[in-house]
């Protein structure tokens, strides 16, 4: 079975786009009702399967490294740490605990949080803007963050000092495009396409300033900025994880509550209004949420491309475009993709490879493969 058949088979299983012809005496209504139920359940099963895949990837990722630890020991150690039953007298257990919990888990958790945050922001943004190209980056948020961080690192312009100074700078500058678009929508009602064009224009402006600062900056500072800008998840510590987690997870749930509204927005503004949706308000709220998620993530980890763009599309192929199931699936796939990229990066080159490079190197070809393998148009 080749890849294309495999996808078609899966789609058939999930009743994505097929003609229904009832058999053996069942009434049309009952038959359609049953088919609908089956389709919904298969989507939930798909989701459940990916949760299992996710935990396998999670465990496997933690086993990778200099210190040898088996897959099952990883979960045993995690369980013992969470329940507080680590045997302090056993050197092996304490070693395991230290490696798993202190050294490897922060990186893995960051990967997961980034995956969830970027993918759900991407999925929501694509529906909101009715544009398959939309993701947190095409609205200028990433370049804003990069600009803010560069400002801190090369010119020493901080709002507060230390590591958080850089993060705060990045965060504030990342919100500039969002604030601009929100003001724009108050003053003049922009179309979704216009929002993206404005985002791209802002992106170029930020990039220009950024390049100028990099050229003028001291090479060491420029190098630090560059390393950060390609996206890394290895620098986060236990202190920072709660901050990113709160932003991403809160954002995810807030967006999840808006998913049915997003479905309606997808059918056009006037129809959404006739369904009782205050389109302008919803769009602004959505934009704020997405900006906060993306800005929060980018300011800690740098630019990790492709996850926000690709995971919603992959999820869409399998579960369809109902945002209520699409958003969680995209988030889960985003987390899985981050883990896979990190694993591949480690296996090929070693733990020091910046994940932003791997996501683009692997995400790009996979995305193209899926697009080409598609027989029918999904978007």
């Amino acid at each position: 079975m080749n890849f294309r058949n495999f996808i078609e088979e899966l789609k058939g299983r999930m009743s994505l786009s097929k003609t229904l012809i009832p058999t053996d005496g069942e009434s049309d209504e009952e038959y359609v009702f049953r088919e609908y139920k089956v389709a919904r359940h298969s989507k939930i099963i798909f989701f459940a399967v990916f949760i299992v895949v996710f935990f396998i990837l999670l465990g496997y990722k933690i086993t990778l490294g200099e210190y040898d630890i088996s897959f099952f020991d990883v979960y045993e150690t995690l369980w013992k740490h969470i329940t507080g039953t680590i045997d302090q007298s056993s050197i092996v257990e304490r070693m395991n605990d230290n490696v798993v919990w202190e050294q490897r888990l922060p990186r893995v958790l960051t990967a997961i949080i980034v995956g969830i945050g970027l993918a759900s922001a991407g999925a929501a943004m694509q529906s909101m803007m009715k544009n398959p190209l939309a993701d947190p980056y095409t609205t200028g948020i990433s370049s804003g963050a990069l600009f803010g961080a560069t400002l801190a690192m090369t010119l020493g312009i901080y709002i507060i000092g230390g590591f958080y100074g850089r993060v705060l700078n990045a965060f504030i500058c990342a919100l500039i495009p969002a604030v601009f678009i929100i003001f724009l929508s108050r003053w003049k009602k922009p179309s979704p396409a216009m929002m993206i064009l404005v985002g791209i224009a802002i992106m170029y402006i930020f990039n220009a300033f950024q390049s100028y600062m990099m050229l003028r900056a001291d090479p060491n500072a420029a190098s630090t900025v560059y390393t950060w800008s390609v996206g890394s998840i290895g620098m986060t510590t236990w202190e920072q994880i709660p901050i990113i987690a709160v932003v991403a997870i809160f954002g995810f749930f807030a967006l999840f509550l808006m998913t049915r509204t997003l479905n309606a927005l997808n059918s056009g503004d006037s129809y959404a209004k006739s369904l009782g949706i205050n389109v302008d308000r919803v769009r602004i709220l959505c934009l704020i949420l997405i900006s906060v998620i993306a800005a929060g993530i980018v300011s800690f980890t740098g630019i990790i491309g492709f996850i926000g763009l690709v995971s919603p599309h992959i999820a869409r192929i399998f579960v369809g475009s109902d945002n209520r199931i699409l958003l969680p699936t995209a988030a889960l796939l985003g987390a899985c993709m981050m883990l896979i990229c990190d694993i591949i990066g480690f296996l090929i080159i070693g733990a020091t490879l910046q994940i932003g490079i791997v996501t683009a190197m692997i995400g790009g070809p996979i995305f193209m493969l899926i697009l080409i393998a598609q027989q029918k148009e999904v978007w």
């Binding site: 009743s15 786009s17 209504e29 049915r260 479905n263 006037s270 006739s274 369904l275 869409r316």
Partner: protein, 292 residues
């Protein structure tokens, strides 16, 4: 219970262009109401203002005496359902999910079994249960239209508004849909408002016809009163004979050999109206003021 809808001194401008003004209208009887008029006369715009999609430049719309300006979008949606002429979905869902969208004002975030059953019943009414699990974007224009009508019915509104629901349908479905809408209106005691271009189909099924032209209502009443040779000549600039078929007016057009857009007096007058109004609006417009 029929919800009364009332338009008072309604007027709309798009930027500098005046569409129509001083529209006064009451709809209080359940039944099928057809809105007719030449292209660009503002039929869709009229529908938009009635269901709060577009805020009118002047005037008010009342639903059971309540100004829709002061009503929440949600409350309007519980009363009025709108079926657009075309759909432009970027990411389409299955047909059944699309129809279930119509249940949004009633059920909010969750979809109950009841919702699914209502949606399936609406598919059944439109005869498209076999399409239930097909992707909406893969369907033909006519099938799209059937799905969207089903979606409007699924909303179980007090007032149903359809923008050219039959424009992409074959003859059988055109007649079937109009008859269905008339029956839905009668059975549920609701107002069904339909924009239509086919004078014969509108005459055949409408309980009332509103004829728009040159920025105002030219005629309003039962088909037999509105569909006269004189009205058709005035509004569309066509010579037509009105006969009676099955107790309804039936219009036969005479295509003149000299037909040309340039010598159609009805259309010339329409643009004259818009140009004349242009000047008036410009003077009223404030600097940086909202011009919509």
């Amino acid at each position: 219970m029929v919800v009364k809808i009332e338009a008072k001194d309604l007027g709309v401008c798009y930027g500098d262009i005046r569409i129509w003004k001083d529209i006064n209208l009451e709809m209080m009887e359940p039944g099928l109401i057809g809105i007719l008029g030449p292209n660009g006369v503002g039929k869709s715009t009229f529908m938009y203002t009635l269901n709060k999609i577009l805020e009118p430049t002047e005037g008010h719309v009342y639903l059971d005496g309540q100004d829709i300006k002061e009503m929440d979008y949600k409350d309007v949606a519980k009363i009025i359902a709108y079926v657009p002429q075309r759909s432009n979905e970027t990411f389409s869902m299955s047909v059944l999910d699309t129809v279930l969208m119509g249940r949004y004002p009633i059920s909010g975030f969750t979809t109950t079994e009841e919702d699914v059953k209502v949606a399936i019943r609406c598919l059944k009414i439109m005869g498209i249960t076999d399409l239930a699990m097909r992707n909406f974007n893969e369907l033909s224009a006519g099938q799209h239209q059937n799905v969207m009508i089903a979606r409007g019915l699924a909303q179980e509104p007090k007032i149903l508004m359809l923008d050219e629901p039959t424009s992409n349908l074959d003859v059988y479905h055109q007649l079937y849909v109009m008859k269905l809408l008339r029956d839905v209106a009668k059975e549920n005691g609701i107002i069904v408002l339909v924009i239509c271009h086919d004078l014969n189909i509108a005459s055949r099924f409408s309980d009332r016809i509103i004829l728009l032209s040159k920025g105002k209502i030219v005629a309003d009443g039962p088909a037999s009163e509105v569909m006269t040779s004189q009205n058709i000549k005035d509004v569309y600039g066509i010579d037509a004979d009105v006969m009676e078929v099955d107790g309804r007016p039936y219009i036969v057009y005479h295509a003149d050999e000299n037909m040309g857009i340039g010598n159609n007096t009805a259309y010339q007058n329409a643009t004259e109206f818009q140009n004349r109004e242009k000047g008036v609006v410009k003077k009223k417009k404030k600097l940086f003021g909202k011009s919509e």
